[in-house]
């Protein structure tokens, strides 16, 4: 239907939420003693921080309502050999009906970029990309603030 669609909802929470989640994950990393420099190379540390950044972003902004955040969390959990359980979504029937109906080969590069993009319909892909972009920019802002604050000392 070209008209009378629900307006595209890509609200992203405030910067504080992102900051909170990111700091939580960082302090978790701290607690695990992952930052003892003789044990870890810088690369590993970087990877851990990066993963923490993504996971915290997914949890902060996407929650379980967004496809990309679910895919991201699932992927991260699999790397840790854990399993993520998501609560059942209400709109499951619609989702099943619409799955893979149209050629999911369009916008291939975008699908590769976005977590979980391979399974989405093209229109859903666009929505998720918009939300993902907003969340990413927010996360970048948070990390930039942190780095600036820390490096100023």
């Amino acid at each position: 239907m070209a008209s009378a669609d629900k307006p595209i909802n890509t609200d992203v929470p405030e910067k504080d939420v992102f900051a909170l989640h990111f700091l939580q994950s960082l302090s978790n990393l701290r607690r695990q003693n992952a930052f003892n420099s003789p044990d870890d190379t810088t690369n590993n540390r970087v990877k851990k921080i990066k993963k923490a950044a993504y996971v915290s972003m997914a949890r902060a902004a996407g929650g379980t309502n967004r496809l990309w955040s679910r895919a991201l969390l699932r992927r991260a959990a699999k790397e840790n050999n854990k399993v993520v359980i998501f609560s059942r979504r209400k709109k499951r029937v619609t989702w099943l009906r619409r799955s893979n109906r149209r050629d999911p080969v369009d916008a291939e590069r975008l699908r590769n970029l976005l977590p979980g993009g391979g399974a989405m319909e093209t229109s859903k892909l666009m929505e998720e990309t918009a939300h993902y972009i907003k969340c990413l920019s927010m996360q970048v802002k948070v990390m930039q603030c942190l780095v600036d604050g820390l490096s100023a000392k």
Partner: protein, 334 residues
């Protein structure tokens, strides 16, 4: 057999002042003959309906056509229609019309919807008009008798339709409301291409939204370029995250050393753009807007147990204060 098709002359005269229906009328008989020649073999009732319709509804047609003219102005192109006869549609029509009454005093809106568009679609006329929804299309070959009940029956039938329709039009059906989409010039109006077009429009709408989101996309026309820009933007954001995480990894050991110098005020100020209050003891949060849940005045950090950084504790407290707590715990290295 086809006498009923010829519209009375009075009707044609009343359209003299209207540009749109003039052309319509010229093609009308033409098309209706076509339509009915395809379908008349199957259902003699259709002819009856036609005769019925053609004979009595002078003012009905007139009024609907006046509305029609008001609706569309200045269109002048032809559009093609596939006339593949669908038998279940015709049966539906018959059952529909058998239960309908003609009531010219009925709501114009309903008649408008049904008659005008059915006529528009069933006539291969030179006009640029938009496509109706699938429910409308099903009934396009019949000249329906307008009545309130008809729309209800339409809804019921449409709702019992294929899943493709219902998935698209479910919410609309329940509201007894049609979304009228009109086919553009030279485009087919069969079911599949309609769905395709609706899907494409949805995608382009979302692309436009993305275009506003990504900076520097406004100048680019064409979906491919915009898509490239979006991809580049996402890649650059990802690279930024990686770069910043590298920086943080470098800064982290320095952070541990610099714990005493930092105050929690400052730390929180990174994120909230508050003016940084440099104090030796982080006792008074001047800048922080305290919500009624929190303690008034000072947030004494000695009181707060740094081990309580579990998420449960965080949930009870306000976001900003939890941020402070967390950052303090992070700084103190727990």
């Amino acid at each position: 057999m086809l006498e009923g098709l010829v519209y009375p002359e009075s009707l044609s005269l009343s359209y003299a002042d209207m540009s749109v229906p003039e052309r319509l009328k010229g093609m009308q008989q033409h098309q209706q003959i076509e339509v009915l020649s395809q379908s008349s073999n199957d259902s003699p009732e259709l002819l009856q309906i036609l005769q019925f319709h053609g004979s009595n509804n002078d003012e009905l047609l007139q009024s609907t056509f006046s509305h029609f003219q008001m609706l569309e102005s200045g269109f002048g192109t032809k559009y093609n229609m596939d006339f593949g006869p669908s038998h279940e549609a015709m049966d539906g029509c018959i059952s529909r019309t058998s239960s309908c009454q003609i009531d010219p005093a009925d709501t114009m809106g309903v008649m408008l919807k049904n008659s005008v568009e059915s006529r528009a679609i069933s006539l291969k006329n030179k006009r640029k008009s938009e496509v109706k929804t699938r429910e409308e299309e099903k009934t396009d070959k019949k000249i329906k008798v307008e009545a309130e009940t008809e729309s209800n029956i339409n809804n019921k039938e449409a709702s019992s339709d294929t899943s493709k329709e219902t998935s698209k039009g479910d919410s609309e059906i329940q509201k007894l409301d049609y979304i009228h989409v009109r086919a553009r010039r030279g485009q087919a109006t069969d079911r599949h291409s309609l769905a395709e077009r609706a899907r494409r429009e949805k995608i382009s709408k979302k692309m436009k939204y993305l275009q506003d989101l990504v900076p520097g996309c406004n100048t680019i026309t064409g979906k491919a370029g915009v898509l490239d820009e979006i991809i580049n933007y996402v890649q650059s954001l990802k690279r930024q995250v990686e770069f910043l995480s590298m920086k943080l990894a470098v800064l982290n050991p320095e952070l541990e050393l610099a714990v005493e110098d930092l105050s929690v005020n400052q730390f929180q100020a990174y994120f909230t753009n508050f003016p940084v209050v440099i104090a030796s003891k982080p006792s008074v949060m001047v800048d922080l807007p305290l919500f009624p849940l929190d303690q008034q005045g000072s947030l004494d950090l000695s009181v707060i147990n740094p081990n309580q950084t579990s998420i449960d504790a965080v949930k009870f407290i306000n976001l900003k204060t939890s941020l402070i707590i967390l950052s303090s715990c992070y700084l103190s290295g727990k």
